[in-house]
Amino acid sequence: MLLACLAGALLTCALAPLLTRALGRNVGWLLAVPLLGAAALVALGYDDAAHSPAVVESLPWIPSLDVGLDLRLDGLSLVFSLLVLVIGAAVLCYATRYLERTDRADRGKHAGFYALMTGFAAAMLALVLADDLVVFYVAWEATTLCSFLLIARSGDGAREPAIRTLLVTVAGGLVLLAAVTVMIVATGTTRISTVLTHDVWGAQSGLTTLVAVLVAVAAFTKSAQFPFQAWLPDSMVAITPVSAYLHAAAMVKAGIYLLLRFSPVFSGVPAWTVLLVTAGLVTAVFGAVAALRRYDLKELLAYSTMSQLGLLTAMIGVGTTAALSAAVVHTIAHALFKSALFMGVGVIDHSAHTRDLRELARMNPRMPVTATLMVLAAASMAGIPLLLGFVSKESMLAAFLEAPGPAWAPWLLTATAALASVFTVAYAARLVLGALGGRNGTVVREAPVSFWAAPASGALAGLILGLVPFLLDGLVSAGASAAAGSTVEKNLAVWHGPVPELFVSLAVLAAGAALVLARRRVDAVLAPRAFPFSALDGVDRAREGTIRLGGVVGSWTNSPAPARHLSIPAVCLSIVALLAVWSTTELPPVRIAASEPFDWLLALLIACGVMAMMNARSLISAIVVTGVVGFSITVWFFDLGATDVAMTQLLVEILTVCVMVLLLRRLPARFSSPGARRRVVALLVAGAAGLATTAGVWMLTGRREASPASEYYLTHGYNETGGSNLVNTILVDFRALDTLGELTVLGVAGLTIAALLHGRRPAADDPAPIDEQSPVSDPETNTVFVRTAARLLGPVIVAMSVILLLRGHHEPGGGFISALVGGAGFTLSYLAAPSDERARVRLSYLWLIGAGVVVGTVTGLLGYLDGSFLRPLHPRILGFEITTALVFDVGVYLAVIGVILAAFNLLGRPPSDTTKVLPREPEPGAAGPDDQPGSAASPGARAGAGERRRAARSGTAASPATTRSSHTTHETGEVTPR
């Protein structure tokens, strides 16, 4: 039944946009029906369960976290769900006339409003019915979001208030979340009814206090209690139906509900009492005084809400059964009169086109019904006898007079509440007299019945229930029982006899009347008294401060220069490492590490090389001294018995230099010298990092026996693979997966530089000024030596490459090394060519890379024939046993060649050849030439480039119309002088 109610509300919400599109603003009538239906269902359902105190229904949501959609209907839930549903329905009906009429085409305009309002109702219903802490929190935040969106959609001016409202209420929501999680952890359950009866609350006072405070704070933000009151008046920018709902039955009432719900466990906690009473009374007086200063009717009502909620909060804080039942009654009374007042103000606003008291005073409202309903509702608010407000206020005063605690407490409480009530009378009169007191000026006509019906019924209900309050006995008793945690029988009556609270009431009314009579003087006193601080400013300042702090925090790390970001890890790691060294007391003895004299010689060379690198100021010296280090390392590897590694390192060193040279010509020739500060900092950081590394290597290597894996390779490697080069067998047999990854990395490097140069040109060549007049300047003639050497060495290189590939399984070599040698062959061919254009390095590198990966992967897949990916096979072909590991190595070979060719093709050739300007809009299907950098450019273009070169040399300008450079100029809008 409860699930059905909730589902109905959600369904209404879901259908609302569609229905709105069909029916326009009148859809409100239709949407009110399910809400009223749900109200009826809830009311009847509760009656049905008269024997047991609550109806419980449940639907699993996240069982792993013990979270489920548990719904429970007890008295308190009943009171609030009726308010939520009935007032919600009333507001929906009211909205049909409040909202502007839309023409057929624009009917969807109010879809958002209706969806959010019904959603709001559904969320509130879920909130008051939830018996699961998490579901309760979810509903709590859902109301926050609904109100945020409802406020935000009221125009540009509503954005800031909406944001402030959201921030304050979400902050409260997070406090609630904290409370919820603590409760869950403390009690081991998410069920609210179980939590409320758990014995942890009696046993752990610290925990209890903590949760009580968290719950109270969460409720304060929602119910706009001091010091979180700012958002409520701020949210007045929302349209009136929203305000009416928000103030009367939704949102702010969620806080009151929360307080009442947890009152059974916390009412004895001093912190709870003190917090609630203090904050409640402060808010009550503050709100009431503030309301007296307002001219905007809605704003006045907003402060009034604050004040009334303050009284409610204080009542709950007092926590006696009398106080709690008074709170329940006042909640109902407030819902009725506040909804009526808001809607009534909306009617006036609509008719008079203003809700400013000063402007209304200059008008002539002829609105008998509206006036009556406003008077009734305002009188109820003021606590005039025979209205429900009187009943509730008297119950409150009675409760305060009997408040427990020190002797002065009841007096102080009663006095403060009375003071707030006096002001209430005053601002109620201010409202009515101000809004309807005008007697001349523009005539304001009465609104149609469909418009005032909803507020009128609210006001009327207040009157009827004020006359026969015992109608509420059952409801209030049920609600108060749930709030008190024990059975409460409340008998409401208009006349209790000459009890003390009656005299207080009368005194309040008298004082209030006096203030009304002296209202001009009150105005004069209060009007200039702005509060020295504004909570709104506080919210804004906190927000701006956070953003500013964020900017500062962000600026610490927003340097785009890599140096900054690279140094931080170095510093951190060094510090951590040095700490680790410092704290390490004992280490295993050194077992497999040993140094030989020549190691130190190499270390010396490396040291010199490193120092030289650090001090190098020209590109060439930097590159050359890098070689010093690289070759020293190569020799060291070689001396450690790592022949393959040494060979690879050697080849990589050389090829790296070759590639660097391709790029050098596009970079400035010299480095700047770093400033002294940068230098010192860099030296310090580098020194720490170096020390840490030394310590790490010294501590963490060479101190164990030979590893089992190494023993396996040495003893079984040859037998298992048939290869005697154990390093190579690891690469192609045992750990071929690494190698597959590695060849992929290589191939993708080629792909990446192609992608890099796909969209942009590398920096322009910046060739050194050459003595063009010299007899030895002709490249054609002077590359003869290299060309001849290449012709002689070419076959040797090819043979070498093949031999290294084939023998790799047994002797130093293998795919990488042989491919690097082959790549060196291409490099030589490139360097020997008389011009960049004529270099024969024009194979399709993308194809080669692809082929390499395909060969590697397919060889791997063949391994499935023997049970696993990359399992080498040893088929016999023509009597020779071969191994697929060799085929795998061919894949490696292709990928390496591919990446080397990519480098030369993309970087070693004139820009016009490789990265011809992108067609701005590549036509679909027809690939631009730039998409296939591996393919040759059109011969015409190449000839053109060559011609231009020669022409440039002989000093005659090439025809601009035919050359690529002119095209470039046109495309990029800048001229690159050659």
Binding site: S567, L663, V681, A689, T715, I730
Partner: protein
């Protein structure tokens, strides 16, 4: 111990270069750092046994651990790939390198 010193030296130079402004020096820093990583890997296999691991040696106590060698070989090639990528990155874009060219010193 020599391995520790060599690795330390390499990291020292590498970090110093990483903290420079020019992309090419940063790249060279990474070249050094790559060496350092390889030295660590080799050291992890031990430096007391230096015979090259070939065939099925009878006396295991003198033969180097082949696994770190395979690791280093892989690492060298990967570092090579990335170095190329970084080098290309250094020359693409409008303002590649904040080194100041001083042509008058290169050639007068």
């Amino acid at each position: 111990m020599s391995a520790a010193v060599i690795a330390g030296l390499l990291v020292f130079g590498a970090v110093y270069l990483l903290m420079q402004r020019e992309m090419l020096r940063v790249i060279l820093g990474f070249v050094l750092l790559g060496h350092a990583g390889n030295v660590v890997l080799m050291a992890a296999g031990g430096s007391a046994r230096r015979h090259e691991p070939f065939g099925a040696p009878e006396d295991l106590s003198t033969v180097a651990d082949p696994l770190p060698q395979a690791f280093v070989l892989t690492a060298i090639v990967i570092a090579f790939s990335i170095t190329i990528v970084m080098l290309v990155l250094a020359v693409t874009g409008r303002d590649d390198d904040d080194t100041e060219a001083k042509p008058e010193e290169v050639r007068s």
